[in-house]
Amino acid sequence: MSRRMSIAIALTVVLLVLALLSLWFESVAGAVVAGLLILWAWASALWERLPPYPRRRATNYVVLALSYGATGLGLMCLALILATLIWNGLGAVSLDFFTESTPASGNTGGGMLNAIYGSAVMTLVGTLVGSPIGILAGTFLAEYGRGNKIAPVIRFINDILLSAPSIIVGLFIYELIVLRTGHFSGWAGSAALAILVVPVVVRTTEDMLNLVPGSLREAAFALGTPKWRVIVTVTYRAAMQGMLTGVMLAVARISGETAPLLFTAVNNQFWTTNMNDWMPNLPVAIFQFALSPDANWQQLAWGGALLITVTILGLNILARVLTSGRSFGR
């Protein structure tokens, strides 16, 4: 008797007992499921009895069907989420949405102008601060890092930072900036976002710089150019598209981040341009509005969610399109 056969028999006995117990405990559905499992155990035992070639073909078909199903599932989830966003959010998007500030609870109308502005400013500042750090650090890893013992360590640490939970970064900035200055501020929020930008830009810069062919550099060196000039005028220029794509991806990443802003910039009901003040921003506003029972606020939350998603997806698609046509040497 084959091993599978004996397993099937053993399983049948166990499951029959379970099925009887389930009926005893009045779970008809449980008995049905036990019955199905018994059937499955026998089917897989009998599977073995098939002649080899049909069996292999059958196995193949089952697996392929499952992987079609898996991909279909993934795509369906994407479609569902986007459909929900569009269905719920489109109703909120109007001229008012872009021109009015967030309303008080219980009011009708209003928009997300202050949140959009605050998010845009903090993203801009965070990117402006984080990108140069990231680019220069990436340059170090690519251009000066070979043979240097510290470079692999920095690469490793960079990947840790890349995947670190963003809420931890928020806590860090709370301790570092909010408690020291004594108040929440847009600056603190931007600082948290900058820390999130740096690892992304380091990673993409290093990858892009490594892709620049050595012949370009050698040609420049052969003309007597100092190293820094080679990097800045030749290598950077060759990799510029890729590096900008990296910055774009970083922007896409921080636009949707909520957790780091929860304890740094918090949110603001009113319009403000003062970075020293609590800065309104889309993600935290969506967080507050979505969790409230106020129907108007929920509508605005969906609208904001649609806006963020469209922006981020757009940036990602743009980045993809730009890198697909990349070439080096002009």
């Binding site: 860090f172 709370y174 190293k227 000039r229 800045v232």
Partner: protein, 320 residues
Amino acid sequence: MADVALNRSAESPRSAWFDGVFKAATWFFAVAILVILGAIIVSLLISALPAIGRFGFGFFVSTAWNPVKEDFGALPAIYGTLITSFFAMLIGIPVMFGVALYITELCPRWLKRPIGTMIELLAAIPSIIYGIWGLFVFAPWFQSGIEPWIIDTFGGIPLVGALFNAPPLGIGYFTAGLILAIMVLPFMASVTRDVFETVPTMLKESAYGIGATTWEVMWNIVLPTTRIGVIGAVMLGLGRALGETMAVTFVIGNAHQLNLPVLMPGTSISATLANEFAEATTVMYRSSLFYLGLILFVITFIVLAIAKTLLIRLQQRAGG
């Protein structure tokens, strides 16, 4: 290739001096990354010290969470983090294989790029969107359609039933795990796909040549070759799932209890931090939250370190 050894001094001494400045600047910012991480760890440690002093390692096994009596325990939060990530992996790994298999072997050429892009677009959706989608769309559907069926079916079975006996809330460990699965799927699938594509075509063609089915090629050739990379991809997904905050906060139910039924609500470390940080009035409360954050950071660190080591080993193998 990048570091051609022609470090020739330039035409003028001023340029040569700037060479040193530039190199120093890049070095400075590279080291800054180390400093940032170090600062984060140190800051977490310092803030967590009072709690570490008071609770020590008992923190890991205590289920108390009483801000009034200042008695805190991490077990419900750690359990919630681990079990939601477990569900995310349970559901995500098979789907990851399915997607990677489809894209590398089954997909027509012209469809490869678009489908790959679409799966990666799932990664671009910010986590708060997953949170509100989970709460407003998925949870009600789950609560009215699927959950009662699960509870009726499996709740009655002796032994196993205890895992399913719960009021149908729609939110809880399982829902959070499901949402996390959808979130980490794109990372894992695209890394797995990249890893599958490193398998030399020659190997696969030889297997096809002697009549192997697609599945047999996958199982006997591709997977053994890419074993390390696949594990690395899984670890990356796991790292992401462990630290995810917003998606989990919306659908896990915020109950500081250790519940056995998988459909019950609970809490995770990041959800606890997001919910309670703003109102931690006392030093011990705040310190306990930082202690939780430190634990999360350490767990993520370990998982990521393992993933990186595995991926480096794969690269070394592929390189030669």
